[in-house]
C-alpha cells in the first residue's frame, strides 16, 4: 500500500451508498473503492504491491494448472453461501479436480450502476473469508461498472492457478472399464437451496447450499492411494451428477452402471424435488465430487474420503463398464433398469 496520503476524499458510504459510473471510470473514486474495499479485504503481499498484475513464483518441477469461472448466480445471497464465496470455492475446486494444489486466484467484478455498496461489501468480505479458509489469496483483480439495467447487481469471474506434480494425470478421458465410481456425499442441496429463494417459491426447506472448497479432500484422497490410481475427479455442478457422469463417459469412451440405492439424497432435498417435479440427479452441487478410481484402490479411497469432514457420506455408486454407446445406466431402487441421460435444457419443474 502506498505510503503517501492521498488528497482528501470523502469516505465511502458503505451503509447507504451505491455503485455509480465513476467507480468504474479508472479515476480516483475507482482507486478508492479498490483500496478501501477490495485490497483491504483481500490483503496479501501480491495485491499489496498495487500493480495491475501479480508476479508469482513457480516451484521447479511443477506444472501449471489454470481454471476460470464466471459467476452470475441469482439470488446473490442464499442459505449456505453467496456469489462471493461461491466464486472462490468454485474455481478452487476446478483446479483441485485436476489433482492440482490451488495457489492463487484473480477476481474480476462487473458491477451494475446502483448496486448497494453494503451488499458489495458483504460479498467481498465473504470472498476474503473464503480465500483465507482455503489458504488461496486473491492476488490480482479488476472492477468495471455497467449502466443500470445491464447487469444483475454483480457478476464475478475468478481464475485460479494451481501446481501439479509432474507424474500426475487426472482427466475426464481416463476412466476405464472396471473402475469404481465414487461420490463424496449427498446430492441436490445447492440447487434446491438456491431455487427455494426465488420469489415464486414459498417454502422453508432448511436446506443449505453445500458450497465448499474440496482441495483438502482431494489432497487427503491422493495421499491415501498409489499415484495413478485416481483416474478422474470432477465436481457435479451445473447439470448435476447425471451430466457429469455422462460427460466423463463420453470423454473416456465408456459406459457406466450405477446403483440408485447407493446415491444419497437428504430427505428434505428429496421432498423439495418431488414437490417441484425435479430429479435430484440433475440438480447442481457445489461441494461434492465424483471420483473414478482403479478398483483395487476403491476401499482405501473411500476410507480417506469418509475420514474427512466433507466426505463423511462418501459411497461407491457404481462401476465403469465397456459400452460403445456410452450410456450411463442405473439399476433403480425398485430393481429395474433405466438410462440416466444427458439433461435436455434447463431442468424446469413439471406439473405432470
Amino acid at each position: 500500500m502506498s505510503s503517501r496520503k492521498p488528497g482528501y476524499l470523502r469516505p465511502i458510504d458503505f451503509r447507504d451508498g451505491v455503485v455509480d459510473m465513476n467507480h468504474g471510470a479508472g479515476g480516483r473514486l475507482g482507486a478508492q473503492l479498490v483500496d478501501d474495499l477490495f485490497a483491504r479485504a483481500f490483503d496479501n503481499e501480491f495485491l499489496n504491491q498495487g500493480n495491475d498484475g501479480a508476479l508469482l513464483p513457480v516451484p521447479p518441477g511443477q506444472r501449471l494448472v489454470m481454471a476460470t469461472d464466471a459467476h452470475v448466480i441469482s439470488p446473490l445471497f442464499f442459505p449456505g453461501g453467496d456469489i462471493g464465496s461461491l466464486a472462490v470455492y468454485g474455481t478452487v475446486n476446478d483446479v483441485a479436480m485436476l489433482g492440482a494444489q490451488p495457489m492463487y486466484l484473480s477476481a474480476a467484478f462487473v458491477l451494475e450502476e446502483g448496486f448497494a455498496l453494503a451488499q458489495l461489501r458483504r460479498i467481498v468480505l465473504s470472498m476474503a473469508a473464503a480465500s483465507r479458509l482455503c489458504g488461496v489469496p486473491i492476488v490480482t483483480g479488476d472492477t468495471k461498472v455497467v449502466e443500470r439495467g445491464k447487469g444483475d447487481g454483480v457478476f464475478i469471474t475468478t481464475t485460479g492457478l494451481g501446481m501439479l506434480p509432474q507424474a500426475r494425470d487426472i482427466s475426464g478421458a481416463n476412466a476405464r472399464a472396471g473402475d469404481a465410481v465414487l461420490l463424496s456425499g449427498s446430492i441436490g442441496e445447492h440447487g434446491v437451496a438456491v431455487m427455494a429463494q426465488r420469489a415464486s417459491l414459498q417454502f422453508e426447506t432448511g436446506i443449505e447450499s453445500d458450497s465448499a472448497p474440496l482441495h483438502t479432500l482431494v489432497a487427503a484422497l491422493l495421499q491415501a492411494v498409489p499415484e495413478g490410481a485416481v483416474h478422474v475427479l470432477r465436481d457435479p455442478t451445473r447439470g448435476g451428477l447425471a451430466t457429469t457422469l455422462n460427460e466423463i463417459a463420453r470423454q473416456s469412451g465408456v459406459g457406466m452402471l450405477l446403483q440408485e440405492s447407493t446415491i444419497a439424497v437428504l430427505p428434505q432435498v428429496a421432498g423439495a424435488c418431488e414437490l417441484l417435479g425435479l430429479d435430484p440427479l440433475y440438480i447442481a452441487n457445489e461441494g461434492k465430487m465424483v471420483v473414478v478410481v482403479a478398483p483395487d484402490a476403491a476401499p482405501a479411497a473411500l476410507q480417506a474420503l469418509r475420514a474427512h469432514p466433507l466426505g463423511r457420506r462418501a459411497a461407491q455408486i457404481g462401476q465403469v463398464v465397456a459400452d460403445a454407446q456410452g450410456f450411463v445406466q442405473m439399476t433403480t431402487g425398485l430393481g429395474g433398469r433405466r438410462v440416466v441421460d444427458w439433461l435436455s435444457g434447463e431442468p424446469l419443474p413439471r406439473i405432470c
Binding site: 425398485l334 430393481g335 429395474g336 433398469r337 435444457g345 419443474p349
Partner: protein, 379 residues
C-alpha cells in the same frame, strides 16, 4: 417421505413381480394402456418394465396434457406476449415446447416477451394484483387434476373484480379421450391394437371419482383399474388387470383406495362446473379433433376469458408428415417404429407430441429406455 417411499420399496416390488409371473396365463399375451403421462413416466423412471412378465405389454396413452397441446394454442400464447405485451404465465412443462416460427415460450422470452413460469395458478393471480397496469394471461393446461385450481382462480378473479387478468383455457378431459381411443373413425386407418384393459389415472380420479370409467367396463367390456402413482401401485394394478382378464371380468376396480372413491371430490367438481363448460370439439395434437373433450370458460366469466378478451383466432398447425405420434398415442405403433425417432426427433428437438414432454411415449423411451434397442440409436 411418508406414503411415498413405502410405495417404492424394492423388496415388495420383487414379490409383486413373482405374483405377476405366477398370475399370467402362459397361453396368452396382455396389452394394457396406461392412460396417464405420469404413469408412463413412473414406469420408465423406475424401470418397472423389467419387473413385468414378458407377456404383459404396456401401451402408452395420450394422457399427457403438454404432449397433446396443439402448436396452434402455444402460438396464441406467444402472440399475446410478443404482440400485446401481456405477462404470460404458465407451468414449467410448457415452456420448451417448440411452436411456429422456430419459437417456444422460452425462445420468445429471449426475444423480449414477458413470459413467467409459475408453480400454481394462484401465482398468476397474484401477479395480476401486483401489476395493475399490466395485463396478465395464464395459459391453463392439464386434465381434471389441474382444472379445479384454474376454476378457483377464475372465481376469485371475478370476486375481486380484477380488470387485468384472464385465462387461456386449454383444459382437456380424460373419459372423452379414452372413448376416442376406443372408437374413433381413424381406428380403421391405423388398425386397432387389441387393448385388454386400462390403467386409469391416479390423480384425475381423485377429482372425478371412479364412476366415469364404468361405461368402458360395461359398454366396451374393458377392465379398468384406477392406479396410484407409485411403482408398487402400478404393479398391483397390473396384477389386478391380469386377474380380471383371466377371469373374463370387465369391472372398474380401484387400487388407489387411499385417495380415490366412486364420487370424487364434489367441491372440486362443483367449482369446475361453475366456471367451465364443454367445448363441442377441440384439437388434440396427434389425435386430431376430439368431440366433447375439452373445456371453455362460461359466459358469466367472459371478462376473464383470454380468447374473448383478445378476440383470438385459432389456427391449426400440422405436424411433420412422417411423425407417427397419432398411431403411437393410440398404441398402434411404438416409438421405434417412427422414422424420425432418435434421429431428427429427440427431446432437444421434438417433432411431435410424444417427444415433447418427458412423459410422452417417445421421450420416456428415449430418456430412460433406449438402451434396450441399441441398433436404433443414432451414432
Amino acid at each position: 417421505m411418508k406414503y411415498v417411499d413405502e410405495f417404492r420399496d424394492g423388496a415388495l416390488a420383487r414379490n409383486l413381480a413373482h405374483s405377476l409371473a405366477a398370475a399370467v396365463d402362459p397361453a396368452r399375451t396382455y396389452s394394457f394402456m396406461e392412460f396417464c403421462g405420469g404413469h408412463t413416466h413412473a414406469l420408465a423412471r423406475y424401470g418397472v418394465v423389467d419387473l413385468l412378465p414378458a407377456s404383459v405389454r404396456m401401451v402408452h396413452g395420450p394422457g399427457c396434457p403438454v404432449c397433446v397441446l396443439p402448436i396452434g394454442r402455444i402460438d396464441l400464447a406467444i402472440g399475446l406476449a410478443l404482440e400485446r405485451g401481456v405477462i404470460l404465465c404458465t407451468y414449467g412443462d410448457v415452456m420448451r415446447v417448440p411452436a411456429s416460427g422456430g419459437l417456444s415460450l422460452l425462445r420468445a422470452r429471449a426475444r423480449g416477451a414477458d413470459i413467467r413460469m409459475v408453480y400454481s395458478p394462484a401465482d398468476a393471480l397474484q401477479l395480476a394484483r401486483t401489476h395493475p397496469q399490466r395485463d396478465v394471461v395464464f395459459l391453463a393446461i392439464g386434465f381434471e387434476t389441474t382444472t379445479p385450481p384454474s376454476a378457483l382462480v377464475l372465481r376469485q378473479a371475478a370476486r375481486e373484480g380484477l380488470k387485468n387478468f384472464s385465462v387461456l383455457c386449454c383444459h382437456v378431459l380424460t373419459p372423452s379421450a379414452i372413448t376416442h381411443i376406443l372408437e374413433s373413425p381413424e381406428v380403421a386407418q391405423y388398425g386397432t391394437l387389441a387393448l385388454d384393459g386400462f390403467v386409469g389415472p391416479a390423480h384425475v380420479s381423485i377429482v372425478i371419482g371412479s364412476a366415469p370409467y364404468e361405461p368402458f367396463a360395461s359398454a366396451w367390456h374393458k377392465p379398468v383399474v384406477i392406479s396410484g402413482f407409485e411403482p408398487l401401485d402400478m404393479m398391483q394394478s397390473i396384477l389386478m388387470l391380469v386377474r380380471q382378464v383371466n377371469d373374463g371380468r370387465a369391472e372398474v376396480e380401484n387400487q388407489f383406495t387411499r385417495a380415490v372413491n366412486r364420487e370424487g371430490n364434489r367441491a372440486a367438481q362443483a367449482v369446475m362446473a361453475e366456471v367451465f363448460e364443454l367445448r363441442d370439439s377441440f384439437e388434440w395434437r396427434g389425435l386430431g379433433e376430439v368431440a366433447h373433450s375439452a373445456l371453455k370458460i362460461r359466459p358469466a366469466f367472459a371478462a376473464f376469458d383470454a380468447e374473448q378478451r383478445y378476440a383470438l383466432q385459432y389456427r391449426a398447425v400440422p405436424d411433420h408428415k412422417q411423425c407417427e405420434c397419432g398411431a403411437i398415442l393410440r398404441g398402434v405403433r411404438q416409438p421405434t417404429d417412427c422414422k424420425l425417432f432418435g434421429t431428427v426427433c429427440t427431446p432437444e428437438n421434438p417433432m411431435g407430441s410424444c417427444m415433447v414432454s418427458s412423459e410422452g411415449s417417445c421421450a420416456a423411451h428415449y430418456t430412460y429406455g433406449r438402451w434396450r434397442d441399441i441398433p436404433v440409436v443414432a451414432a
